[in-house]
């Protein structure tokens, strides 16, 4: 994750979306294979990685979750590209 500091907002967003996608896909798989030990291990790893990617993105760019918004002087939740907008 050391290279994060040099990544553009688009590059880091792609990394976040890949990490969260992997979590979603494993989640659906586990819903119908709840005892698959290999998939369980993969999920634990994927979910830790996604958490780290989200934290890296939020600390460098803007909040993806309202609970991460900085409240020290203004409402940081408004900052960033919303899903209805094109990322520049």
């Amino acid at each position: 994750m050391a290279s994060n500091m040099n990544m553009s907002v688009q590059q880091l967003m792609r990394r976040v979306s890949e990490a969260l996608f992997y979590v979603t896909d494993l989640n659906l798989y586990l819903d119908t294979h709840p005892d698959d030990t290999k998939a369980l291990r993969m999920f634990a790893e994927a979910s830790a990685n996604a958490k780290a990617c989200v934290e890296a993105f939020e600390s460098r760019y803007y909040p993806l979750y309202a609970t991460s918004a900085d409240c020290s002087d203004s409402w940081e939740w408004l900052v960033g590209t919303w899903p209805s907008q094109k990322m520049q």
Binding site: Q10, S17, L20, T32, Y62, P83, S84
Partner: protein, 185 residues
């Protein structure tokens, strides 16, 4: 409950404008086999499910479909952003402009407003999951039709991705059907 994440499942970045293509893709927003119907179908059916795996799968796929609804809305918006009445008319979709201008409205490509009659919720797990498997195939077929109409790579990439997700959902629902049927035996 739901927690909103300020991003789309994969980035949506469309550089060209095309109101006609937007009106075709809108069908996956509020059309008969679109993402709104999909999410509403699964999120409603889950209340009558008794198997944990069924409740979980319908909740999780229904949630993912809501995210896809948002991606379709984003494609439609980006394809029409800044386009005026004359442009819509030139692209043959002046009728959409008259009713909704640059807004995203849940309707099919042929202009029929969204209807809950597109879906069922039957409290019969087998009947519901069978419908869901058919729904995934119909959504996949609609994405195939869109791909036949679309030559903008920015759009095609996202549509191909969404099509692939329908194939995965079909697979998972099939596994759930096996689980439910083995419990009956």
């Amino acid at each position: 409950m739901f927690v909103f994440t300020k991003m789309t499942q994969i980035p949506v970045k469309i550089n060209n404008k095309n109101p006609r293509l937007a009106s075709y893709i809108l069908s996956q927003y509020g059309g008969p086999d679109g993402e709104l119907g999909a999410s509403l179908r699964y999120l409603s059916q889950r209340f009558a499910q008794t198997e944990k795996s069924g409740i979980a799968l319908l909740t999780d796929i229904g949630t993912e479909e809501l995210g896809h609804l948002e991606m379709i809305g984003s494609i439609v918006t980006q394809l029409t952003k800044g386009e005026g009445a004359k442009s819509f008319d030139r692209y043959g979709v002046g009728d959409y402009y008259i009713d909704h201008a640059n807004a995203v409205y849940p309707a099919s490509a042929s202009g029929v407003p969204f209807s809950a009659a597109y879906m069922q919720s039957k409290a019969d797990p087998i009947a519901d999951i069978m419908e869901d498997m058919a729904a995934e195939q119909k959504a996949r077929a609609t994405y195939d039709n869109i791909l036949r109409m679309c030559d903008d790579p920015d759009v095609t990439n996202v549509i191909r991705y969404l099509r692939e997700r329908e194939v995965v959902h079909f697979q998972r629902f099939g596994e759930l059907l096996d689980i439910l049927q083995s419990k009956i035996k």
